[in-house]
């Protein structure tokens, strides 16, 4: 479960101009809930992610993972409970390592890394099983170097890496950006399925309005550093992409 209370983030640029990026933001995501975060460029979506993951510390406010406060903890501490999939597939995977090595690395996220050899048949079985879910044929390429994969394939791999460990909180940053429509659908279905089955609290940034409407439980619109509007259930399902797009760009608080 993820809770954000009164989060404020400001940046002081040169010339002493203070810019408020996140303005008293409150958000709660329950286990098993899949929340879609939409907003214009510059609304503060990436900043929000950075605050949750620990890369950035908020100026004010509190963050709770499963009711425990983590506001001032380090990224490595939070990684026990949180997995993040980044927008840039090149940043999310290690390109000179094989798929197996990338996944073995992700498997131990947040855990103590021992002197146990990474080559293990049971691990290989596990990785094959997870990769098969993608239906991209990646399960046969475990020993290929990740750099030989296409951008979309690496993006999908990042997702699988994120769900390998037991992290209860999942942050997904435009994970379908580099995928063709068919692959995107597979990936979204897979995400939906995993989040529900494993009761993860998930937040996804997307610019794809159709996806935001079709998948997930809730749409949250970020505007000027705070949650401006939320859509759930029927209201959500009855939106059209164009509607949503207009709302997102024209909301007056």
């Amino acid at each position: 479960m993820l809770e954000l209370k009164n989060i404020c983030v400001t940046f002081r640029s040169e010339g002493n101009l203070e810019r408020i990026i996140l303005n008293d933001l409150n958000l709660t995501i329950n286990p098993g809930e899949f929340v879609m975060l939409i907003g214009e460029n510059g609304a503060g979506k990436s900043t929000l992610f950075n605050v949750v993951s620990g890369f950035l510390k908020p100026n004010q406010g509190q963050i709770f993972f499963n009711h425990k406060e983590v506001t001032h903890t380090s990224q490595s501490f939070r990684s026990k409970s949180l997995a993040k999939v980044m927008q840039d597939p090149k940043l999310g995977t290690m390109e000179n390592m094989t798929l197996y090595e990338n996944m073995a690395f992700a498997l131990k996220r947040g855990e103590k890394r021992s002197l146990r050899n990474i080559s293990d048949n049971s691990r290989r079985e596990l990785f094959r099983e997870k990769l098969t879910l993608l239906r991209m044929g990646l399960e046969d390429r475990l020993d290929d170097v990740t750099g030989s994969l296409s951008g979309g394939q690496r993006q999908a791999l990042s997702l699988v890496m994120a769900i390998l460990s037991d992290s209860q909180i999942l942050l997904l940053d435009e994970i379908t950006g580099a995928l063709d429509p068919k692959m995107a659908e597979t990936v979204m279905n897979l995400s939906d399925q995993i989040i529900r089955q494993e009761k993860k609290a998930a937040l996804m940034i997307t610019h794809n309005m159709a996806h935001a409407i079709a998948y997930g439980d809730r749409i949250v619109v970020l505007k000027d550093g705070r949650i401006a509007k939320e859509f759930v259930d029927l209201e959500k399902k009855s939106l059209t992409p164009k509607d949503l797009h207009d709302i997102a760009s024209s909301i007056l608080i």
């Binding site: 390109e95 390592m97 131990k108 890394r113 002197l115 146990r116």
Partner: protein, 281 residues
């Protein structure tokens, strides 16, 4: 070239191969251009030499030398991660300060002979002993880098964002990586001083160049990703480099003079570098 010269090239190649493995740990595995080596190499030699002169077991002296190298690596890591000094400067500063520390360890004397003391090579054949030691070091390094822990170390050198996302404490791992690398370099220094029979405080100058040249030659011969090949590349590259020097020493019969030694060696290294790259397996 006589057999004895080839044997010497093998022996020195293996010693410097261990040093190159230390540099592999810092430059390649954690992607940290660490220049502490010129200092930590001599540190190992000094510690080992002083202990031998005091009558301690030569093997113990080597282990303590290894430990001293690790400590110097930790300090470089602290300079970089805690005091936020850039990686290049941290290594340079540490090597610089180690010069004085090394002289202090030697009791103010810049040179001590070990000729009449018991070293690890006194009763054992150096080629065999070094071969065994090298094999042991190679296995330990190869295995360590193939574990979950090793993967975490490698992740720092590959992509720091992924490492951070994977929950790796980048600062702590950097310090560990530096400690491991410099412990090998100091170990090599201790081995060299026992092999050549004396410790000289100036013998560290140029260690980084020798180490990197050995590493790069080796990577040309074995351009494979796995850390097992990486370790082998260090040793083989180092032996080849020593053979090049040995060969260049005979260039006087071709009409070259002794001053041309560096030129010849350099040309041989360039030759090795421009060999066509074999495809990655």
């Amino acid at each position: 070239m006589s057999l004895a010269e080839v044997v010497l090239s093998l022996e020195m190649g293996m010693i410097y191969g261990i040093v190159a493995m230390g540099i592999y740990f810092t430059f390649r595995v954690i992607d940290f251009p660490d220049l502490t080596c010129d200092g930590s190499f001599v540190l190992g030699a000094c510690v080992s030499g002083v202990m031998i002169k005091a009558g301690y077991n030569p093997l113990l002296s080597l282990l303590i030398a290894l430990l001293s190298g690790a400590i110097s690596g930790v300090f470089t890591g602290i300079l970089n991660t805690k005091l936020k000094i850039t990686n290049l400067l941290s290594g340079i500063l540490m090597a610089f300060m180690l010069y004085s520390i090394n002289l202090k360890i030697m009791g103010g004397s810049p040179n001590i002979t070990l000729m009449e003391d018991v070293t690890i090579f006194t009763n054992l054949d150096p080629l065999l002993t070094l071969g065994l030691i090298c094999l042991l070091v190679w296995c330990l390094c190869g295995y360590t880098l193939s574990t979950d822990f090793g993967l975490a170390l490698r992740s720092i050198g590959q992509n720091k964002r992924v490492a951070l996302n994977g929950g790796v404490n980048v600062e702590r791992m950097t310090i560990l990586g530096l400690a491991l690398g410099n412990s090998l370099i100091a170990f090599g220094g201790g081995l060299l001083s026992q092999h050549q029979g004396f410790v000289d405080v100036g013998s560290g100058v140029g260690t980084i160049i020798i180490g990197l040249a050995s590493l790069m030659i080796g990577e040309k011969v074995f351009p494979f990703r796995s850390p097992w090949w990486g370790g082998l590349a260090c040793i083989v590259g180092s032996v080849i480099y020593r053979l090049f020097i040995s060969f260049a020493l005979h260039s006087d019969t071709l009409g070259f003079e002794t001053q041309d030694l560096n030129l010849i060696t350099g040309l041989l290294v360039i030759g090795a570098m421009v060999l066509p790259r074999r495809h990655l397996c």
